[in-house]
Symmetry: C3
Subunit: 311 residues, 3 copies
Amino acid sequence: MRNLLTMNALSVLEIEEIIGQAQDFAAGEGWFPDRPTYVANLFFEPSTRTKSSFEMAERKLGLQVIPFDAGTSSVLKGETLYDTARTLEAIGVNALVIRHEQDAYFAELAGRLNIAVINAGDGCGHHPTQSLLDLMTIKQEFGGFNGIKVAIIGDIRHSRVARSNADALKRLGANVVFSGPPEWFDERIGNGAYEDMDTAVKTADVVMLLRIQHERHAQNHHRTNADYLERFGLTKAREKSMKPRAIIMHPAPINRGVEIDSDLVECRRARIFKQMENGVYIRMAVLKRSLEQAKGGTVYENNHQKWSIAR
Amino acid sequence: MRNLLTMNALSVLEIEEIIGQAQDFAAGEGWFPDRPTYVANLFFEPSTRTKSSFEMAERKLGLQVIPFDAGTSSVLKGETLYDTARTLEAIGVNALVIRHEQDAYFAELAGRLNIAVINAGDGCGHHPTQSLLDLMTIKQEFGGFNGIKVAIIGDIRHSRVARSNADALKRLGANVVFSGPPEWFDERIGNGAYEDMDTAVKTADVVMLLRIQHERHAQNHHRTNADYLERFGLTKAREKSMKPRAIIMHPAPINRGVEIDSDLVECRRARIFKQMENGVYIRMAVLKRSLEQAKGGTVYENNHQKWSIAR
Amino acid sequence: MRNLLTMNALSVLEIEEIIGQAQDFAAGEGWFPDRPTYVANLFFEPSTRTKSSFEMAERKLGLQVIPFDAGTSSVLKGETLYDTARTLEAIGVNALVIRHEQDAYFAELAGRLNIAVINAGDGCGHHPTQSLLDLMTIKQEFGGFNGIKVAIIGDIRHSRVARSNADALKRLGANVVFSGPPEWFDERIGNGAYEDMDTAVKTADVVMLLRIQHERHAQNHHRTNADYLERFGLTKAREKSMKPRAIIMHPAPINRGVEIDSDLVECRRARIFKQMENGVYIRMAVLKRSLEQAKGGTVYENNHQKWSIAR
């Protein structure tokens, strides 16, 4: 069992290995487990892209996917996440992909399961496969990270992606700056200073926009969409000021006309749908990594199966 | 990419080809794409039969189905249908089957995707695979359409099926009449006159009942069910007046005791479950048609993938 | 077609055969149908374990699973269960696994379908695959049932499992007693007397705890959780009084700290997750039994398919 819970837990070498494997998959390489392998995707929050991306990755690896619908599961009857996970282990699932609204939900599972857990997003915490696909997209573009300037812009405080990415980019040799509404910047995030919007866009190699999570802080978001776009979004005017080879990234779903002018979503610089494409390969690499490790065999110390006339 | 959006877009020859292919599938013929092929079913409205039928058709063709749950998708976060569709394209889905409550939802997608879209129902608009399976059922029974009289009865104004069917039947050489509550008939539908219920049932080769869509016009449906059945439904007495070889069709789900006496649902004349059986073969034929076309290779002009040390 | 609807309908020999086949599957035996076979799981009530377990069993047998989501199905449009089931039969599904909140929902289907129905729980009625996996777990432990004392404890009146199990255990030669809140015991259940909690736990070979179904009788459950545990749950003190080889069972989901002290859920005696593991093999055996029978060929008397120029 080899979990993937946070970016912090990955060394620079491991990050490079995962991206390298993902690139091999993108180039057409195949890998299949040597016996029937079962995986379940536990999504306790809405998701199109991440869930579909994992579903695709799983099928490309020939895995069998056991459907799990949080909305009709026994969680409604008050079952703990651990008991749900342990149940899926008991019926033979080899890896769990979990998205959950609670920060660090996986602390409850750590060391108590014999199967792999892959974190597909925990509350305002981490989203390592998103970070990895972002890094893969940057590496494809620039060949590496040394000296690349990445401007992470927007709802930094509530973004799973912002913090994981900033830390990993820093370790890989990139320069990180933050921009967007100053009240959403938090110096404790570290790994990068705040820059005003126009400077950040003008000087970055990568303009990494974040999604405004309306569902997370509805009340203090008093600006109109048009006003936000003008002040902190990527307008057509700002796009024109970007460096010749600079690219635009966004984790999606996109609020068109808020974080970015709708006409720029698929412009020459945009790598937004490219990121999604890369996400499948990253998830294939992450699943392979977890399942290869698991191959050693699972020992259920806890189950005392007998088939004897013992009395 | 070869979409199937409306019946109007299909020539008589194309209709005959699809029905012929479906009949070959019904006779046991197989067809499989020559490489792994992925499809997603986006159902934004409740459905048992159409969705299950596509799911079955997809599996019979050996396609991989990427699950999509509209109720937990990013559409809840305000994502546009285009961005959702484009996302699924980016992760490698080869065809989308879409049901959506908005009339002509596909206008938003037309010409903007490199993968096929198959319309599984748009609002009060079209439902081409339902029309095709109706036509297949009639052809199986009568060998063709020339001179066949089809009476389309019931909630014509709100029926996707009524209008597509009337037009296609007309083009194929059949005679179409409409019946049911006169206030639900609309002369602008064209392709057939209104006949009173008893005459229509007595003289038709095909009595095609439509479902009363309680969910669409609750308020102006003031009649009781028993009253509706007596005045505009297929009662046992009316069934007795039908021509010897005439058949009964209904797109289902059936409101038993409203459009049709419950005892007639599986009577000798009824082809209701036969229609559902045919639906699988029609959908196989439609999917094959879309996927064969797609085989030429998808070019993503929009993605500038690089893997170079460019700077 | 060979349904599995209730335990009562199974002879002792049939029970032993199913358990034997399940044990063969547990030991690594495989079985696959000799042609593509389709199954649908219709769960009208929340479930993790039973649904996932069937999904796993189906995949281990190489079956194709047609997804069915009760929450977005035509049942919402008022379709009868029979029409839904008949629809799935018409599109080619070979077996239906159904959980439904209505007691004996299957009476509506009996004799009207040509495909197998497997009952995955009906209201407060039956849950035969749960009973079978319980029996398998006991047999694994003790080699058989003769003279084994099983104490069924808790919410007997509302438990599907309690009654099926008591009857089957009795027929297989075991002794059954009931315990828990006396007002939840009902003498009409038969097959076993009531014992006070401490005696039952101390003298049983199998302590079979039932789940308190908060969702079924919220109002008359006035006790606090801690109070319930102390009076009628398996506390650590009671566990210490158990016979040396005695085991603990629970159908799950578990209300930790109510029916059982949370620390005992995975203790040396607990077979709770072992039961879940066995459930997959039992369901494989039950599916095989239904599908082998079905192999004779389905005849649709009701469908008059023709492909002729008949008029």
